[in-house]
Symmetry: C2
Subunit: 302 residues, 2 copies
């Protein structure tokens, strides 16, 4: 029996928020459907941000309804505030990802409030979730810029650990340590993620890496070694970074699955089906550079 | 004091053997000169193969003479046989890299003899080296396809370990475990390279990884963990793989240096100078796709 690792597809959210094309709703739904067919079980399908800020996600409700109808996946959505959480809860999403930044400057740039205020807002989301009749959606919280910030520079690890601790005490069901700008290196991952993991106790900790500087898979390798079993990844490495033109985005789902399977873990994902889906999405997004090695090189003979 | 790690530039050899352009001799010399200026101390500058097989290396003697004149680097050259070694020794090279394949089929395809015959030939090279007056060039031996072969499939690890052991007993000064086709994964690296290391005793062991399937830096991370301090890398990831069109080649020198420095090791290399050199070489090789993240994304703020 191989140990299971969850690869959560975030291309429809973190990926699409960076691309020029507004992907039609039916394409997004087809993407979800084909990813599910390839064996992906967790997909972050959209973002509940105001449509005037990110028109890409104006169809959030419709995409969520279609994703819920697939049945074999656990869809989730990014929410930046209580209002977003409310929209997500109303649709009956089994999971949301609330995000805040360890970097106060990044948090202000992103959601126009301090990190402290975002932490307080999370308590309101927990409160709202706890009052939902019947349902009890899973509250994942992503701590952005945990490994450094393009605006603020380095972020004290103590700060990230304290934020994780506070969120866990407030009622987070999962903490995602996120390298939003691609600054993390393997030594830092081992040190910081281990600390977060021991700090939050029984709550699962996942990692969200960008491959901006090529260290994405090296960081995953080390994270696996310290017991992390949840990884965000994006089809074709979509995602990018507004501060690094031409840079790759999130770690590529295909390469992440390849690495995990080679290391003896069970992702439940059919890599060839994923590569076929990537080809399709690539055609849907003209002008976007997809990254990743396995789709180019093909599967090895052994 | 940070621990030193040697990044050996193989772009002028492993890289150029795959590109369409025959790089003029003066460009090769400029490349060596600028790499040396950036702090690279070991450069595999050419290959002593017959010019009719690889016209790219018809100027091997001239390049070696110019590289030797630089003074601050230890140039080396690839040699596939005794004849190549003789040419290298005659020029006074301080180091040669003899290569053979763990895969018999790959060895036959490459040098038209069995692996056994290549191992015997190495004994002749040692013999010749030992009789040189005064000089005692360093004999590095690369074991190609150590992690698998595109022709023969999987290679028993026992076989690689035995080959390394025989070569060490024959007089090798260094063993390079090479993933010629980009099949290695971090678990395999930890297992096989550790075994080779303990088998050959005091002789240094290095690693030569290709990034064909995106695992190059993850493999280096693990190799560092088991004490490897010598890595081959190629500027811009030149190198490719004839069996995987579009695939990237060797691990990129720039990304390797970035990783090593981030992990606290001292490569002695100025990364910005290396990126500048890469830009120059990219212009010299029209139509070649360079890979690597750090040149695209730039150095992080922290």
């Amino acid at each position: 029996m191989r140990e299971k690792v969850c690869v959560r597809e975030v291309g429809l959210r973190d990926g699409l928020q960076m691309v020029a094309t507004i992907l039609p709703t039916e394409r997004k739904i087809e993407w979800c459907f084909l990813a599910a067919k390839a064996g992906v079980t967790e997909i972050e399908v959209t973002s509940f941000v105001p449509a005037k800020v990110l028109p890409q996600f104006a169809d959030a409700e419709e995409v969520v309804r279609a994703a819920l109808a697939i049945g074999t996946i656990k869809p989730s959505a990014l929410v930046p505030n209580l209002k977003g959480a409310e929209r997500a809860f109303r649709l009956g999403l089994p999971q949301i990802t609330y995000v805040l930044s360890a970097s106060d400057a990044h948090n202000r740039a992103n959601v126009r409030r301090s990190t402290e205020e975002s932490i307080s807002e999370f308590a309101n989301i927990v409160e709202m979730r706890n009052q939902l009749p019947g349902l009890r959606p899973h509250l994942s919280v992503g701590i952005s810029t945990s490994f450094g910030c393009t605006i603020a520079g380095s972020i004290p690890e103590e700060r990230v650990i304290n934020i994780a601790s506070t969120l866990a005490q407030s009622g987070a069901d999962e903490i995602i340590v996120a390298d939003t700008v691609g600054y993390a290196d393997p030594v830092q991952v081992r040190r910081l993620v281990s600390s977060v993991k021991s700090e939050v106790g029984a709550i699962p900790v996942g990692c969200h890496f960008h491959d901006t500087r090529g260290l994405g898979l090296a960081n995953i390798t080390v994270a696996l070694d310290i017991g992390i079993r949840i990884f965000d990844a994006s089809l074709g490495g979509l995602g990018g970074c507004p501060y690094a033109p031409g840079a790759t985005g999130n770690v590529t789902t295909e390469d992440t699955v390849f690495l995990l399977e080679r290391l003896g873990f069970d992702t439940g994902i059919d890599l060839q089906a994923l590569i076929d889906l990537r080809k399709k999405v690539e055609l849907w997004l003209p002008g976007e550079n997809m990254s990743g090695a396995i789709a180019r090189a093909g599967l090895p003979k052994i």
